[in-house]
Every structure is written in C-alpha cells, then in structure tokens.
C-alpha cells in the first residue's frame, strides 16, 4: 500500500517539476530583469524556448559522436530521477530505492559527467574549457555536499533524505540548532556551485572567461539543447526543493491522502518559487567570483560542513 502511494507521489513530483522547472527559471529571470530595470521576457519564456527548440533541426558537428545525442538525454533522465526520488511533495520512500543521500549524489554526478562529455565531444576549445572547469568545480563540491548532508543526517540517524526531512518536521528544534545552521550554509553554497549559479558560474553570460555551463552547451542545438537545458533546470528546481524542505519542512506530506497531495504540491510550489525569488535577488548583488577563487569558497563551505559533523558528535 505504501509502495503504491510512494509511486503515486513520485509521479506527481515528476509531472509537477517538469511543469515547474521552466517556470522557476522564468521567475528567476523576470525578477532579475525587473530589479535591473528591464522589462524582461515574461515568466513563460523558458517554456516557449522549449517548444521552439523542439521544432528545430539539430545541427551536429561532423566529428561529433553519439555522445552529443546520448549525453543530453542522460542528463535529463538523471535530473528526472532526482525529481522522482527526492522528498519534495511527500516523504514516502519508494520500495527498495529510498532517497539515500549517496545514491542521490551519484545520480547527480551521472548528469555532471554526461554534460562534461558533451562539452568535449564536438572537439572545440570552448567545449573543452567548459568541461574542464565544470569537472574541477564538481570534484571540489562533492566533499562539501556529502559532509553537509551527513551533518544533517546525524540527528535522524539515517542517510535517507526523506527520513531526515521527516525528523525535522517532527522536531523543529533541530532546524535552528547551530549544527544544522552550519550544515545548511555549507549545503546552500554547494548547491549554488552544483547548479552553476552565481558566484561560481554566471548563468547568463557569454563571455569566454566567465563561462562554465554555457561553454559546454555551445555546440548543442535543437532538441539536444532542450534536453540539456531542461535537465539543468530540473536539477536546480529539485535541489532548491530539497533545500526549502530542509529549512521549512512544513506542508510536506507524510501520510498519503488526496488533501495531503494537494497541500504538498501547493507548499512545494510556493517554497521553490519563493526561494527562486530570493536567489534571483541575491544574484543581483553578487558578481561572479574568479575561477580560482571558487576553491577558496568551497574550502570554506567544506570547513563549515566538517565543523557541523564533528560538533554534532562531540558537543551534542
């Protein structure tokens, strides 16, 4: 019974996030445009882009291989898996595959690798550069990401994310404990780096010295580009959803009911869009850090994560 309920929740999350992710990007861009005094293209523009790109003939480099076709699909599927497994609308774990922290990170890494290989495939200097920088950042983010969530997992005594969220829901004192705050800061920095946001990467740049993500997708077009973009958007939405559920777990569904699903969907939508607005406002005041300053930022965040874990063992 819980199995069937979990599958329904996973389906709801999938449909919701495929719909929501482009909208989130639209909101982020629109808020930014308004703050910068531009009119902006409206919150539905990403959706229009998807429709437009799907109706175009993809152009592929003569020397590129099947990777240029398979890589984007892999990235998209890995992001879809994230949406299905993470506790976003409800905390019911799927049978046999709970939302285990290490599994989630590995699924994310599959997407990271697919994107990096796509960047290398066309055989241009730009793609290689983006791919190289992207992988360097990914390699340095991983310890931070794991340690931060490890710290959060200690009060719950499990590495299953849905149980962590549930623990925080039942025992809100955990959320504002110093250990949890340290870990949340570390996690937020790691997620910003992982999803190519400022100050690690500038999502709206086309200057070669500042590009990470954009450099890798330069050679992709048509539906290849759609899969890459949609995959990245879904990843951002899912990780923001996780972050918001860790900070404000209220509204998430723990026992299956139709009302619960509706409340859960509403709650996560509001939380993500709000977090998106916060992100957008924050980014207006941030400049992209120089690439070789990024390791310092991540080292700082790593130190926070390590402090959080050891503190929760030795102090608590």
């Amino acid at each position: 019974m819980t199995g069937a309920a979990a599958i329904i929740i996973a389906l709801v999350q999938l449909v919701l996030f495929v719909f929501l992710a482009p909208l989130l990007i639209g909101v982020i861009r629109q808020v930014r445009a308004l703050l910068e005094g531009r009119a902006g293209s409206g919150i539905w523009q990403p959706w229009r882009d998807v429709r437009k790109l799907l109706a175009k003939n993809p152009v592929r480099a003569a020397d590129s291989s099947w990777m240029l076709a398979a890589g984007p699909v892999t990235l998209l599927v890995s992001s879809l898996l994230l949406c299905a497994l993470l506790p976003l609308v409800g905390t019911l774990p799927l049978p046999l595959i709970p939302s285990d922290l290490f599994v989630i990170v590995s699924i994310m890494l599959v997407g990271v690798v697919a994107l990096a290989l796509v960047g290398l495939d066309a055989g241009t200097a730009f793609g290689g550069m983006g791919s190289s920088r992207h992988m360097t950042v990914a390699a340095l983010v991983e310890p931070t990401l794991l340690l931060a969530v490890y710290a959060l997992s200690i009060p719950a005594g499990t590495s299953t994310l849905s149980l962590i969220v549930e623990t925080r829901l039942l025992n809100p004192a955990v959320i504002i404990s110093p250990v949890s705050l340290l870990a949340m800061v570390a996690l937020a920095i790691a997620i910003m780096a992982e999803t190519s946001r400022l100050p690690v990467d500038n999502p709206s740049t086309h200057l070669e010295v500042t590009m990470l993500h954009e450099a890798m997708v330069l050679e992709a077009s048509g539906r290849d580009l759609v899969w890459l973009e949609l995959g990245s958007w879904l990843k951002l939405a899912a990780l923001l959803g996780l972050l918001s559920n860790l900070i404000v777990p209220w509204g998430i569904m723990t026992d299956f009911s139709v009302l619960g699903v509706i409340v859960g969907v509403g709650a996560v939508t509001v939380k993500i869009l709000l977090l998106g607005v916060v992100l957008s406002v924050g980014e207006v005041f941030l400049a992209k850090a120089r690439l070789f300053r990024v390791p310092e930022l991540l080292a700082g965040s790593f130190a926070l994560g390590l402090l959080a874990v050891t503190a929760s063992y030795l102090v608590a």
């Binding site: 291989s65 879809l80 990914a138 490890y150 690439l291």
Partner: protein, 672 residues
C-alpha cells in the same frame, strides 16, 4: 581426493604444461599455444577458488628436502575468494595476450614468466603457513620481474623502471618477512593456526603489525611505497599491466586481510587509525597524480594507488570500529573493502587491456596526441567507457556499489544506539567521508578526461587518425571485463553474501539479498537495489525517447563541419583542449601538493615583439614522495658508493693488504 585437492593438483600440473609449452613451441605458434595454456591455468584457478569459496576442503602438501614441515596448500573461503579474483583477471589477461603479444612479449621468457607469475598469484592465498606464503609471494614477484625484463631490449627506460621495481618489491618482501618472523617467534610455529593464537595487545605484535602493514602496503602500491608503479606499469604491455594492477595488488590486500582478519583480529584502535591514514593519504595522493597525468597508463597506474588506498581505508575503519565495539558497522566496512577490491580488479584490468588496445592501434599512450578513437575503435571505446564508469564509481557499476557500502559503513559507524562510540571514531569517520568524497570527485574528472580526450572529439595526431580496431581475440576479454564491471554492480546482494561467508567465521556481516539481487545491509540499516534503479531509469527514459522520436521524425538532424566552433573558422584539431589543459585548473588548485614546474618559451617574429611566432610550453608534475623521500636516500647511497669506489682502485697491493688486515682482525677477535 576431494575436489579442492584435484583443483590444486590441476593447477600445479597445468603450470608445468604451460612452462613446457612456452619453452618448446616455435615462435609462430608460441603466443597461441602458451596463451591457451595460461588461460587454462587461470581457469583452473577460478575453479579451485570457487570450490574453496563454496566451502570445499582438502589440502595438497608438497614435501621439501629442507629440515622443516612440508608446504601445505589448503585455501579457506577467504583465500578462495582472492584466488577467484586473481584468476579471473588472469583469464582475461592471458586471452588478451594471445592477440596482443608480439616480439618481446611473445618470447619464451615472457610466456614462461607469465605462467609462473599467474600460478604464484593463485597459490599465495592457498598457503597455510608462513613459509609457503613467502615462497609463493616471491615466486609471484620474480615471475612479474622476469616478465618485465623480457622487454628491456625494446626501450631504454625499462631497465631503470625494473631496478625500481626490484628494489621496491624486495623492500616490501623484507618487511613482510621481518613481520612474519616476529610473529613466528612469538607463536613458536610457522603455521597460520599457531600465529592466530597471539595476543594483539603486546608490543611485539604491534611491531609485527607495523612491519606487515608496510610490506603488504607496498605490495598493494600504497604511498609511500608506490614509486615504482608509475614507472613500471607504463612500460609493461597491456595484458601484463592488467595482471599486475588488476590481480597482483590483491595479494597485498589479501596479506593485510590475513593480518587483521585471521592472525591478529580485534587489534587495538590505533592500528585502525594508522591503516586509515595510510589508505586515506594513498587515495588522495594517487588520484591527484592520476588526474594530472597525461600518459594513459601512468594515469591508470596512479589510480590503482587510489583504489587500494580506499580498500585500506575501509579495512582500517573496520579495525577501528571493531575496537570501539561497533561491530555491525565494522563488518560492513570490511565487506565494503572487499567489494572495492573486487570491483577494482574488474575495472582496472579492463582499463589496462583497453590501454593496451589503444597502444597497439595508435602506438601512442600520450592522451595529448590521442582523440576521436571512439568512432574508429567502437568495441574498445565501449569497453573502456564501461570500465571507466566503474572507476569513477558511477551508478550502477560495481565501483559505485562498493563505494556506497563504504560510505554507509562510515556514517553509521560513529554511533551505536545514539551513543558516540569514541572520540577517535567521531573525528576519523567524517574525515574519511570527506576523503572518499574528494577522491570520488577527482576520480570522476580523471576518467572523464581519460575517456573524453582519448575517445571523443577529433584525433590530435596522425597516428590516432589512422587507428584501427583490434582483432576479435583481444576484443573478447575487453568486453567480458566491461560486462563484469556492470554485472557485478547489478548483483551486490549475492556478492556481499559471498564475501560475508568468506570473512567468516570470525566475522559475520549481517547482509542479505533483497529484491532481485539488491543488497540489504541490515547491520547498518541500508538498502540498495540497482535493478530497481535501472527499471525506474528505463521508465523515465521512455517518455523522453518518445518525444525525441516524434521530434526527430519531423525535424531530422543536420550535420555541419563547423556548427559554431567558438565563433571562429579554424578547424585545426590542435586547437582542442588536451589532457594537460583539461587538468590545468586542478594543477593550479593543488599546486602545493603537485609542485608543477612550468616552462613557457615565446619566440617572437623578427620584426615585432608583439607578434609571436611560436610558444613552447612545458609542464611537468613531479612525484613529491619520490623527490622528497627517496631522492635524499638515493643521493646518500650514491655518495657512499663514490667513497667506496676509492677503496677499490684495482691495485693488487691494496687488495693484499686488505686481506692481511682482515685476517689479522679475525685472529685477534678469535683470540679474545
């Protein structure tokens, strides 16, 4: 005669046959015949190991002329497991050798030492006493040395690499010998059963443990005894490198397991911490060097150090947690260490075989001059890609399952029933998680680089552009190896159960199969079912593919020689990113550890210094351990050698006076 005895006897007989085949067959047939018998020898090892693993008993005793007990071969379950692993790698390497061995590697010496090397590896885990263990260990080492020696005529660098290899392998042998001697002295016997009665909490046991750890660490290519690895493995042909890096290192792991599981179980906590430090340092150092290496085989060689580091990290965590009474997590860490060993054997042998195939096809190991091999060598590319996924621990390969299990054991290790087990564990476990995470991240970069630069994009040299796929006999082991990497990842449950029974009866990990072949580690409350993942990913892939096909029918793909190319119009493949440039950000981030030396030389055009004719960039990354630890020692020895040379000037008068002084001093000493 039991099945196990028959198997051991068969292995011995096949060794004799393989040696005879290597000696007697003519050159034109030698690779085929010898390769066939080496394969048979390895298959016999697989069968014997499988019998031992499934609980078969029996023993083969070899009488010796020396005044001591006969050598008794009788592998237990753990020995059986290791025997299966090294023999499977042996099968793949021998098959590959049939196709790839040419000139020097098809010589009599080469095939003879291959057979000796293989059977040495297979019989070390069968030993039941110190003497036979050391004997087979040395046979294995000598076999591999002779195997490499066969190539000394082809390249000048082989000789110096071999000196390093002999020196380092004999150094580790010395440590192992000293450690065992100490234990045997304590126990008053050389049988492993006698040794197991020693109390690990005596200082003698600790000294022996340190010696054995160093010795077996050296065999497993751990820092700081790894210096021979990046020199020797690039010189070895693909199948030899695969056997050394995929199988021989496991003997080091087996030795360490023998110490901490069989001979001195339940040792003090600081042993665990020490093993963890050794493993953690090796893992990080190995992967850092691998990530900046441009030579494919050097990259793979350093990655072996990394993986063995992770294995030892798991082993150390298991010792530490056991000392802290967190038995469930300790057993899980032990299973994880063995899973890592297994998966490493599968992917590393495949990767080295892949490198061998590339070397044969393109005659080039420098990634900076490879590229675009994916379209010319599809089989090799697919196998290498699959194995690289395993090495990068991506789901759902065996590497991923092993690393997942290790991480689970670590995060569940520091607390039992909500109570912190010890201060050491609560500092060591988070640090270990961080080390594994950083290692995994860098491994990802390393293997994206290795696969992406070599097999994707455009060829960076003429040789790479003219590469051709290797013959079928070489493709078979490649594909089988890659299938093993993925297959073992899909069956973590049965695998963990087998490992659990192998480390018994002293240790009883609480693992069982769940779902189709998933892993349920009940002791640490963790579940993983890769099959369900594949099914879920397939279900999610379906709508994407449907959309893709609809879109593709209406809007077919166009191919253009230059879709965007960074806005430029220059098509030259030299403008692509190379392996060196790929790792450049990393070199900058970790320049304190890697200490790169960079030399940029700009030649200006005669008329103006604003115009550049050409730029020559050279970058070398040194091995800090070698330059800081070994160089001073070697320099000292060299200085001593120069001094010693003065005493030996060839004059007969001087030698006569030496003998006179020597005789005189002997007489004086005797008369005292």
């Amino acid at each position: 005669m039991t099945a196990l005895e028959a198997g051991l006897l068969g292995q011995t007989l096949l060794l004799v046959v393989a040696i005879a085949a290597a000696l007697l067959t003519p050159t034109s047939w030698r690779s085929r015949v010898s390769g066939f018998f080496c394969t048979l020898l390895a298959v016999a090892g697989v069968v014997t190991g499988a019998i031992a693993l499934s609980g078969g008993t029996g023993s083969l005793s070899i009488p010796t002329a020396l005044p001591m007990d006969p050598l008794v071969l009788s592998p237990d379950r753990l020995g059986g497991l290791v025997m299966v692993v090294v023999s499977v790698v042996g099968v793949l390497a021998s098959l590959f050798g049939i196709g790839s061995a040419r000139v020097a590697s098809a010589s009599r010496t080469s095939w003879l030492s291959m057979a000796v090397f293989l059977s040495g590896m297979q019989l070390v885990p069968a030993a039941t006493d110190v003497v036979s263990f050391l004997l087979f260990l040395e046979i294995m080492t000598l076999g591999s040395t002779a195997l490499l020696l066969a190539h000394h005529a082809t390249r000048g660098t082989v000789a110096s690499a071999l000196v390093w290899y002999s020196a380092m392998s004999q150094l580790s042998f010395f440590f192992v010998l000293a450690g065992f001697a100490m234990l045997a002295g304590l126990a008053g016997g050389t049988g492993f059963a006698d040794l197991a009665t020693i109390d690990p909490f005596t200082w003698q046991a600790s000294v022996a443990f340190l010696l054995l750890l160093l010795g077996f660490g050296g065999k497993a290519e751990l820092v700081p005894l790894h210096v021979w690895v990046p020199r020797v493995l690039p010189e070895a042909p693909g199948h030899v490198a695969a056997a050394m890096s995929g199988a021989m290192v496991n003997i080091g792991v087996y030795g360490a397991l023998l110490v901490v599981v069989r001979l001195l179980p339940n040792g003090p906590a600081w042993w665990g911490v020490l093993i963890m430090v050794l493993g953690g340092v090796s893992a990080l150092y190995g992967i850092l060097q691998a990530s900046v290496a441009s030579n494919l085989k050097v990259l793979l060689a350093y990655s072996t150090t990394e993986n063995m580091g992770l294995v030892f990290l798991g082993l150390g965590a298991s010792v530490l947690l056991r000392a802290d009474n967190a038995a469930a997590a300790a057993d899980a860490a032990l299973v994880a260490a063995l899973l890592l060993m297994l998966s490493h054997s599968a992917f590393k042998s495949t990767l080295f075989l892949g490198a061998g195939a590339v070397a044969r096809a393109a005659g080039e190991m420098n990634l900076d001059r490879l590229g675009g091999l994916g379209s010319r060598m599809p089989w090799t590319a697919a196998a290498f890609g699959g194995a690289a996924m395993g090495a990068a621990a991506l789901p759902v390969t065996s590497g991923f399952v092993a690393e997942w299990m290790l991480l689970q054991a670590l995060i569940h290790g520091s607390r039992v029933d909500g109570e912190v087990v010890s201060v050491a564990a609560s500092v060591a476990m988070p640090l270990a998680v961080a080390v594994i995470a950083l290692t995994a991240g860098l491994a990802l970069l390393t293997f994206v680089k290795a696969y992406g630069i070599a097999f994707l994009a455009r060829p960076r040299s003429r040789k790479a552009a003219l590469a051709d796929e290797v013959p079928v006999i070489m493709r078979i082991p490649l594909v089988v190896g890659a299938l093993l990497v993925v297959g073992l990842g899909l069956l973590p449950g049965p695998l963990a159960v087998a490992i659990g029974s192998a480390v018994g009866p002293a240790f009883t990990p609480d693992v069982r199969t769940i779902g189709l072949a998933g892993l349920d580690a009940r002791g640490i409350d963790a579940v993983l079912d890769p099959t369900t993942f594949i099914v879920l990913a397939g279900l999610l892939l379906a709508p994407v593919l449907i959309t893709l096909f609809i879109s593709a029918r209406r809007h077919p793909t166009r191919t253009s020689p230059l879709p965007w190319a960074g806005g430029g119009s220059r098509l030259r493949p030299r403008m692509q990113y190379t392996a060196t440039s790929y790792a450049e950000p990393l070199v900058r981030v970790f320049d304190d550890v890697l200490r790169p030396t960079r030399d940029v030389e700009v030649t200006h055009v005669g008329e103006s210094r604003y115009l550049v004719e050409r730029v020559h960039v050279e970058q070398t990354v040194s091995d800090v351990v070698e330059t800081r630890l070994y160089r001073p020692v070697l320099n000292l020895m060299q200085r001593f050698g120069i001094l010693a040379r003065r005493a030996q000037n060839g004059s007969i008068h001087r030698y006569l006076s030496y003998s006179f002084v020597a005789l005189l001093s002997v007489l004086i000493v005797v008369s005292l």
